[in-house]
């Protein structure tokens, strides 16, 4: 390999005054200029627009992420709020139910007491009426009996 290169080098230098592997000439500065130009062209055509696109997307993703996180936090907060409200409402409802039950119980008892009192009163009055009538009937019967007895006595005594 080395000998080939050397041969080539030797051949090139022997054949003509120029050439060879390490032949430095105006190619060097021109190539440098070309690369510098390419750097500027690629900067405007490639690095800046693509960088902008990528960084815009990164920014977009970052903002969407923070927005999504905010939304999650908000919904968590709302959920807690609503749970709190629900708990309050449940307690309220239980209280109302309890009150209603107590109310209805009280009303029932009152109505019951009134009804019992009524019933008692009407029973009492009925009993007293019955007593009066019984007493009347008894006295009538007694009078009748007396009268019959007198009649019997009267009929029997004159006959003897």
């Amino acid at each position: 390999m080395t000998s080939w290169l050397l041969l080539a080098e030797a051949g090139a230098t022997a054949g003509s005054p120029e050439g060879g592997l390490f032949d430095l000439d105006a190619t060097l500065p021109l190539m440098a200029l070309q690369v510098v130009l390419l750097t500027f062209i690629l900067n405007t055509l490639f690095f800046r627009p693509v960088g902008k696109a990528v960084e815009d997307r990164e920014g977009y993703i970052a903002t969407s992420r923070t927005q999504a996180k905010e939304k999650i936090a908000q919904s968590v907060r709302l959920e807690a709020d609503l749970k709190e409200q629900l708990k309050g409402a449940r307690l309220e409802a239980q209280k109302v139910i309890l009150e209603a039950e107590q109310d209805s119980d009280r009303l029932y008892r009152e109505a019951m007491a009134v009804a019992q009192a009524d019933a008692m009163a009407s029973r009492e009055s009925a009993r007293s009426k019955i007593d009066v009538q019984r007493a009347d009937a008894l006295s009538l019967l007694e009078a009748d009996a007396d009268r019959l007895a007198d009649l019997i006595v009267d009929r029997l005594l004159p006959a003897s």
């Binding site: 390999m1 080939w4 290169l5 041969l7 080539a8 080098e9 051949g11 090139a12 022997a14 054949g15 120029e18 050439g19 060879g20 592997l21 390490f22 032949d23 430095l24 000439d25 105006a26 190619t27 060097l28 500065p29 021109l30 190539m31 440098a32 070309q34 690369v35 510098v36 390419l38 750097t39 500027f40 062209i41 690629l42 900067n43 055509l45 490639f46 690095f47 627009p49 693509v50 960088g51 902008k52 696109a53 990528v54 815009d56 997307r57 977009y60």
Partner: protein, 242 residues
């Protein structure tokens, strides 16, 4: 080429032959420019097609470009640092893209089908002029980066951590472009030569693994060049925290 003792086999391998163009008093290597224009044209075509309509939901070529952009940004950010990488991303990215497409273009495009009067087409990075140009640009870039960011305090870097480092740091300024340019040049040229020699010896199948290895080294070399350039610039703009 001068007549060689083994003229027949070497007909397929032209090393150190150039297609000279006269430009005023100066000569330039035409084949390097021709292939570099193909490379630049391909790059620009992909970039123009991919950025014609940038959308938030990337499609097609935009995906590729965004992947590349992301990849290059990661290199630049990692080695230059969060503060300065934005200024240097286009330079590092252009270096990487140009070298990468040059290397792969040199390996994948069937250049040999195009016959030139002298020399042959190949990767532009297989020419020492190109790699030295790139390496000198890197040197200028890191000097400029350091001086523009820190002013003359940049030269404190040469005596940190101790003034004993001064000669080594000065030597480094020369070895950096030297190693950059010769590493790239040597790898790409050697790869092309190995493939050419193997293809000449055994035209079928055997060169394939070497070609794949060549693609691998080409990509690695582009990455190394861009990474080192970024690292040198990062070193120049780095602020010591006392």
């Amino acid at each position: 080429m001068a007549p060689l003792p083994l003229a027949l086999p070497f007909a397929a391998l032209e090393v150190g032959q150039h297609l000279y163009w006269q430009l005023g008093n100066y000569k330039i290597h035409g084949q390097v420019f021709l292939s570099s224009w193909v490379v630049i044209g391909a790059l620009l075509a992909v970039v123009v097609v991919g950025t014609r309509r940038l959308e938030r939901d990337p499609k097609g070529v935009q995906n590729l470009l965004e992947f590349l952009w992301d990849y290059l940004r990661d290199i630049a950010r990692e080695y230059i640092g969060e503060k300065a990488y934005r200024d240097w991303l286009p330079f590092i990215g252009t270096l990487f893209l140009f070298i990468f497409v040059s290397n792969w273009g040199g390996a994948l495009i069937p250049w040999k089908l195009i016959h030139l009067p002298s020399g042959e087409l190949g990767a532009p990075t297989a020419d020492i002029n190109t790699t030295i140009a790139l390496a000198l640009l890197v040197s200028l870039a890191y000097f400029y980066a350091g001086l523009s960011r820190k002013g003359f305090r940049y030269f404190e870097y040469y005596v940190e951590p101790t003034p004993i480092m001064l000669p080594f740091k000065i030597v480094e300024d020369f070895t950096k472009p030297l190693s950059l340019s010769f590493r790239l040049f040597g790898n790409i040229l050697a790869d092309e030569l190995v493939v050419a020699v193997l293809a000449f010896l055994v035209p079928l199948v055997v060169p394939l693994p070497v070609m794949f290895l060549g693609l691998f080294t080409s990509a690695i070399q582009a990455l190394i060049f861009a990474t080192l350039a970024a690292y040198y610039i990062g070193e120049a703009v780095h602020e010591e925290h006392h």
